[in-house]
Symmetry: D2
Subunit: 381 residues, 4 copies
Amino acid sequence: MVNYEQYLEIRAYTVNLCKHLENEDFVIQAEEFVSPAKWHLAHTTWFFEAFLLKELLAGYKEFNPHFNFFFNSYYNGKGDRTARNIRGLMTRPTVSEVMQYRQYVDEAMQLFFDSSAINSQISDLIELGFNHEQQHQELLLTDLKYNLSLNPLYPSVSDREEYPKAETHDWITSEEGIYRIGFQGGGFSYDNEMGRHQVYLHAFSISSTLVTNADYLSFIVDGGYQDHNLWHSEAWAWINNEKIAKPLYWEEIDGEYMYYTLNGIKPLDKEAPVAHISYFEAAAYAAWKGCRLPTEFEWEAASNRFNWGSRWEWTNSSYLPYPNFTKAPGAIGEYNGKFMINQMVLRGASVATSPGHSRNTYRNFFDTYARWQFSGIRLAK
Amino acid sequence: MVNYEQYLEIRAYTVNLCKHLENEDFVIQAEEFVSPAKWHLAHTTWFFEAFLLKELLAGYKEFNPHFNFFFNSYYNGKGDRTARNIRGLMTRPTVSEVMQYRQYVDEAMQLFFDSSAINSQISDLIELGFNHEQQHQELLLTDLKYNLSLNPLYPSVSDREEYPKAETHDWITSEEGIYRIGFQGGGFSYDNEMGRHQVYLHAFSISSTLVTNADYLSFIVDGGYQDHNLWHSEAWAWINNEKIAKPLYWEEIDGEYMYYTLNGIKPLDKEAPVAHISYFEAAAYAAWKGCRLPTEFEWEAASNRFNWGSRWEWTNSSYLPYPNFTKAPGAIGEYNGKFMINQMVLRGASVATSPGHSRNTYRNFFDTYARWQFSGIRLAK
Amino acid sequence: MVNYEQYLEIRAYTVNLCKHLENEDFVIQAEEFVSPAKWHLAHTTWFFEAFLLKELLAGYKEFNPHFNFFFNSYYNGKGDRTARNIRGLMTRPTVSEVMQYRQYVDEAMQLFFDSSAINSQISDLIELGFNHEQQHQELLLTDLKYNLSLNPLYPSVSDREEYPKAETHDWITSEEGIYRIGFQGGGFSYDNEMGRHQVYLHAFSISSTLVTNADYLSFIVDGGYQDHNLWHSEAWAWINNEKIAKPLYWEEIDGEYMYYTLNGIKPLDKEAPVAHISYFEAAAYAAWKGCRLPTEFEWEAASNRFNWGSRWEWTNSSYLPYPNFTKAPGAIGEYNGKFMINQMVLRGASVATSPGHSRNTYRNFFDTYARWQFSGIRLAK
Amino acid sequence: MVNYEQYLEIRAYTVNLCKHLENEDFVIQAEEFVSPAKWHLAHTTWFFEAFLLKELLAGYKEFNPHFNFFFNSYYNGKGDRTARNIRGLMTRPTVSEVMQYRQYVDEAMQLFFDSSAINSQISDLIELGFNHEQQHQELLLTDLKYNLSLNPLYPSVSDREEYPKAETHDWITSEEGIYRIGFQGGGFSYDNEMGRHQVYLHAFSISSTLVTNADYLSFIVDGGYQDHNLWHSEAWAWINNEKIAKPLYWEEIDGEYMYYTLNGIKPLDKEAPVAHISYFEAAAYAAWKGCRLPTEFEWEAASNRFNWGSRWEWTNSSYLPYPNFTKAPGAIGEYNGKFMINQMVLRGASVATSPGHSRNTYRNFFDTYARWQFSGIRLAK
């Protein structure tokens, strides 16, 4: 059963991520796929208000009836909402009002925890709220990075270290056979990783390390972005139309590659794992090396035998339901299932992932063009 | 010759327009054709810095060398600049830094005024800076209104009164003959209104009053937006594609028309002149009444015989150069001439126009779709 | 009063324009602003059927009731129609059926001419049909050229000579004063050129010759397309976005400029007048020469003193109604008036204009980007 | 080893598909994803010329050196080509020239067959050419249907019967265990279905019959297109933006559903399997029935126990490589592999599939929006 101390810790962690921001930084949304920091702060709060307090805390009075419209993300079951592409135009409620909203809901949650009404089903829902907020903590960072990256001043907004230590490369081999895949055990997991089931894997090898910036630079220098044989047909059209020839946030200044981090612009660390690449680039790199990306099943089966956690790792598995996957009834059922198409699975975690929010059964997913996450490459063959 | 007291008065007027804003309100840009309030505050300051202080004040040190990039609007002759469509993503410099920038330039301008270096040519340039800032004062208000109009909270950001008093309608007639058109005399005018010249006008009548909201409502109720005979071909495509059936900022709530003002949402004042309509709508209304819009020459010739100043009045004249129009050399020459195509002239002034910034020779201009100015209709026949 | 021989002559001229076409060439439409040859053949026929035969010939039976839908162009008053952008997808009715349609209507028109029902009002309408068909003869050629220009085989589809003889340049001067403008006299004219009226012109000079390909080449070589000072703001954005750096149909092959004509690709004739340029390019060229484009009033006032007719000549006048312009009632009123916005007037005629379809009061008009007409430049100052 | 009689039979089948077409029908391309009939006729011919005759027939002289540019589809390894979206603007070469091209290549192929140069590797390449042409036979029909469907005359262009006989529904069950998937044996298969491998399947049931038009109509009547819970998030945005509320080619006329077939418009046959639906609609229908789509592995494992072949059947499997999939070297390697992303697998065949071109290991694939194929639904649970 969850408790209020856990709640407060997670909630404080979110606010703490914003400590270096100027008030103006909270407002903007550079593209439809990112959200303003202010919105993340409010939406995570709305989650507790909409799914718990309004439903279950007797006498609870909404902070502001307009907020359901402003801060619902994608739950059709919870009513209309601000169009996603204009979240960055909502100057009101202000940052200060959003902080009051957090305070108000935190106090109501304390009442709720104190009310002894929390049974195991409610505890599960609160725990989903914790994990939901942790997911948004990572998005808050990656969205901030994207939102501020268009500013020629290269603002620094976080002291998060983006470069993990280098390791020695090795090939790890696995034998052909039946493997058990999916979450099992007592803690929290999302519905999309449940339904432990059997998968037949043919023999494979997987790299013990991630592809580094130095490795990726070799691919660029070797003309990787110019060789159509390495790319999916759709990818080839994309890199040519969008004139893509390097990872997001790399900038060539006076012949040297620089890299925009949350802490301002820095020289590219050659030994660090490459980050901010799309599935398309990951697949092309693998083809160039004569290798391939692992499936998510291979990844999971081998994951206890290598270090992971600094980059989300693209797999060659589509994000599809496991056998016996079922959606929860009501708005909560919209959490995962409706996204199970046209996206690829990423496994692992990243430097932006919150503590306690990683498991080797975790299925992250993005579309094949997405580059603003800390996404990298692990090879298989 | 201009003086520092005039300078300070105009500069203070700009800042004062923002007194009801929240910090967040300064940041956003809802469409490419509007700018953030923060940008207006900085760009008007940059104008004095770029055209006067950096050129003419010995020993002047730029406040921040990046600001030329951030706050140049459209002067190709003054170098590269932030793409217009992402002005609203520049959270830095912050509002507070922009206010410091204004202070810094104001102090340098005091030195400049004190330096006795100001001859008549420089005085003219400073006076252009005054008028430039006054133009942006009006844009600051109309852009703010647009930027905040998407927020379902209908924020109030100004106490500007949008509804002038009603007047009695009359037809004013003018005789056929040669008229003198264009600015003449000692004060300030823009280059586009200079070059006094002769125009032959045929006899015409012009209304003494503007079309009211009640008048325009009759047009709507009579099916004006559904009758293709009243519309230009391009306009007919536009209103159908964009589903336009009423002026901007009108909202039908519970069967009543409401109207979003800078001071929040209000019932529509039927006796007030209609505002926020496009040229296309003005022309269709005129056709529906069996009348037409006046040319800018007719308007100017008759302007001493009616009241004007609450709405910019669409004319049926294209914005083209007067005979003998010439562009000033250098970046200042980009002020007006390069916009003389595919726009229609508006004459008069509006409730958002700054005091002392109106003349009956003033040529305002917008494209035929523009609706976010306080634009209205005066009929002719 | 018009007669059937005139009718037959004009109708035969249209068909004769297509004598070098393959059946496939009649079908396609490369952009929304052009139409298939097949469509022109049928639409001009529909005009006689819809405005004359169906209204006025007793017992007339429509050739095919679907054809009103297929071949109405833009007359809202004549009902629904094929969306303009898919005219090129209508393989049925076939070319052969369209030719039968022409035959059928021609025979009915003979009956109509024979019926003695033709009074002066009807004769005027038939004469409008003649002129309408002649307008479409020119469009048939210019649309064909555009439609086939994307084919790398450079098909030849006409023996029309595009290069007139060179002439000697001179400046023709006119004095300040009142001029009479607009059509007067007994023959045919469009409603947009009627309403003879007075215009006051200041003194001006106009060139006796058109700008040549050699002249225009100097502009290109001198960096004309790279100097923002020469261009309207909207034009500058356009040439940069569309990467425009030479007239339409010019192609640089092995360091030489070639030019696609209706008769296949040819070396560029340096002494011939430049063709296929936009208003924006005409205006930039004029600025580069330190000149300007004439207004349509200057052009008309001076037109008896120079040769014209090989290129449509861009003027610096917007296409707006003359004083006292009125639209005819009904669908015929849609012919001209609804296009009087956001277009510039061209005066003269071109090598593609049909015999007998030119007058010095003729007001042609296109938008400022249009380049597929035989449009050229005459300078004024 | 293949022989010339087989070649001639397949080639004649293609031409025969066009016997009801007017010349004009061969030209057009209504959207980028379809091609003109003329293009299919030529491209299939080009395949033999480019991969066989030019490479392997001594003394072979290309029919026309331009044709490589016109009729290469997507093989980057074979050089530049007409942009896909303007295939419908290429009136030259004409239909008649394309028919001559077919004749010319057919004669050269006879020489080639007679030359005894054909070893087993070359025979495989020719067989690929056969299968390639058969694939295009189906596309020729489905593209024709789409191209002509915008014509309000509902042209009839084929006597292909689109409605198979109804069958009785049953659930077929399969046990949990390891299944062998992929092509095995002596005949032809594509590279994407090779690499027979083992897959672990959990127990499942699959329907013996396809979803009928009557079934699908119930889904529509029950509000299936209005219930967000049934749809993927991306699908929900799509049906709302595109206003999709019924299968492609269904039209409601006087309260009855009609359906455009290759043989003109017909009343909807309620007992026939639904056709022309997207993956998104198939998945939503399955959700509405409380079922799901089968995976491609389940489909293949159970396929010997039901009839298939009238509709391509959407599966819930992404089009991804089988274990040990490898691309052939050179341009032939572009045939399949580069499309293995963001598409879903369809299994079976359709009424438009050519005789001899079906196998239960065949992996067809389209994106989740595609509706112009004869695509239908088989349920699983």
